[in-house]
């Protein structure tokens, strides 16, 4: 199906494919500059005292894994480096597997981090906003046991952790609803605790209004760029940094397409004007 007389859209698809695939194989290593939104997330983690407990919610599924997984991994790694204890939750059923994958990837790098002491996976809970609200009263009623069925009393990490008052911040990696918006509305707006996180590039414009003076959101990692910035801030280049070359070239190609589209438009307009004049 041609999108106009000159270019078949399948050519566009083919060029995009090469622009994305080739830089992943042959890394160019373009520089990365950090933005304030990414720095805010980083500062929040850096300023959290060691030994504090935080909630990291994996509210995404394999569909958005390429964008959200690298940033989730970078944040978890940073928390481990700072000896921050992590309580993992998931508002999406597949989020549990996403979290498990990250912790298994980080295991060789942090062999001293023990499950139940330094991190715990509470598993998936349906209900979205209702679940977040109920957690404000008491985590134990929402999550009586972890993902493996271990009762909460047997998990040392949760000793004295009852509700949002006992955690330092919530970080949600979110691909939609329920996700970061609901965490902001309950944990920040109702309980006054800092909320931060990351979203896919596509949904970032809708979430950015929450990064405001009231700090409803304490920074935001937007898409692969946000993930790459975080990797840069923690000096741990990963898949997002590698992916930035691909994204850069793909964006450049899109800009070239836009230019071609405009040239075509103006040429057609000129031809039409000439034809009209004759």
């Amino acid at each position: 199906m041609a999108i106009n007389k000159n270019i078949d859209r399948r050519w566009i698809f083919l060029l995009i494919f090469f622009c994305v695939a080739l830089p992943l194989i042959f890394i160019v290593g373009l520089p990365i500059e950090t933005t304030e939104n990414a720095r805010l997330v980083h500062d929040l983690v850096q300023n959290t005292p060691s030994g504090s407990t935080v909630i990291i919610s994996f509210d995404y599924d394999p569909g958005s894994k390429p964008e959200l997984h690298p940033m989730a991994k970078a944040v978890v790694k940073n928390c481990f480096q700072r000896d921050i204890k992590i309580m993992v939750t998931a508002l999406w059923p597949m989020g549990v597997q996403m979290a498990a994958d990250i912790f298994s990837q980080l295991e060789p790098e942090f062999p001293d981090k023990a499950y139940g002491i330094d991190y715990v996976n509470m598993g998936y809970k349906a209900g979205g906003m209702v679940t977040i609200q109920a957690m404000g009263k008491n985590f134990r009623e929402v999550f009586p046991s972890d993902v493996n069925g271990t009762p909460i009393k047997e998990l040392p990490i949760l000793n004295g952790v009852e509700n949002y008052n006992n955690i330092s911040f919530v970080c949600s990696f979110s691909a939609g609803d329920p996700g970061i918006k609901q965490w902001v509305q309950i944990v920040h707006d109702t309980y006054g605790k800092p909320v931060t996180g990351g979203v896919t590039g596509v949904s970032a414009p809708g979430i950015l209004p929450y990064v405001n003076e009231q700090k409803q959101l304490n920074g935001l990692l937007a898409g692969l760029k946000g993930a790459a910035e975080y990797e840069f801030l923690v000096k741990s280049p990963g898949t997002a940094t590698a992916g930035m070359d691909a994204q850069s070239l793909a964006h450049l190609l899109i800009i070239i397409f836009i230019a071609i589209g405009n040239i075509n438009y103006w040429r057609n307009k000129k031809n039409a004007a000439n034809a009209g004049g004759e």
């Binding site: 698809f13 939104n37 894994k65 209900g127 993902v147 970032a204 414009p205 809708g206 964006h251 836009i258």
Partner: protein, 231 residues
């Protein structure tokens, strides 16, 4: 009565939910949570209806050999495989009726359900999401044409944000001194996203919020009934 009863229920539940937002005292404080749980329970039963619909529609298409019928065979076979392996050998943290399927797991590395989930489902899902890259390119090609002053502005903003959101932006303007950091493309992109974009988004959100309130009131007051299947 067929119409009146749902309208009465809608009215009562709507009013209770609004009141419960402001009254933490029992029973109001718990009501919205309880009603959400009811909704989840009803949804659980409705899932069965969904599965039956899926099976029926696909089965009929195969039975009458409708156009492209082999596609529907693929759907049903995939459905049957996932359900069967899930029931027989369970998932990562759940037992199946035949136990944990250690024999199969030792052969393929994990339980069959998890194997299919990790190696088929995850990749298919990511592939569908990745299609966005191609579609964004073709949509951008058509959308950003400099026809008017407004579309010119849109075009310029789009190019700046696209460049700023990549390493290319840093590459092109990274050499500028710190005193001119506001001209760095990533900073320009962030400015556009943070101010003009956020202002527009908020305006849409306020309008949509008011529309939501209006629609909700119409439904609670029983003025809007088409969701019940017409007048």
């Amino acid at each position: 009565m067929k119409r009146k009863l749902p309208l009465i229920i809608t009215f009562c539940v709507g009013i209770i939910i609004i009141i419960s937002e402001f009254i933490p005292h029992k029973p109001f404080g718990q009501i919205s949570g309880e009603l959400e749980i009811w909704f989840l329970i009803i949804s659980g039963f409705a899932i069965l209806l969904g599965q039956l619909s899926l099976l029926k529609v696909n089965f009929l298409k195969i039975k009458f050999k409708q156009k492209n019928w082999p596609f529907f065979v693929v759907t049903l076979v995939s459905f049957a495989i996932m359900v069967t392996v899930g029931i027989f050998w369970g998932t990562e943290s759940n037992h199946g009726i035949l136990g944990n399927g250690e024999g199969v797991a030792s052969l393929i590395g994990s339980k069959p359900f998890d194997y299919l989930f990790n190696n088929v489902y995850q990749h298919l899902s990511a592939t569908m999401f990745s299609l966005l890259a191609f579609f964004i390119a073709s949509a951008a090609y058509r959308a950003f044409i400099a026809r008017t002053v407004e579309s010119n502005l849109l075009l310029i903003a789009a190019v700046l944000v696209m460049l700023g959101n990549t390493s290319l932006g840093s590459f092109l303007t990274g050499w500028l001194p710190q005193s001119l950091s506001f001209l760095h493309l990533p900073n320009i992109a962030e400015f556009i996203m943070k101010y003009p974009n956020t202002a527009g988004q908020r305006a849409i959100m306020i309008g949509a919020g008011l529309g939501l309130i209006g629609s909700s009131l119409r439904i609670i007051l029983g003025i809007e009934r088409s969701y019940l299947g017409g007048e």
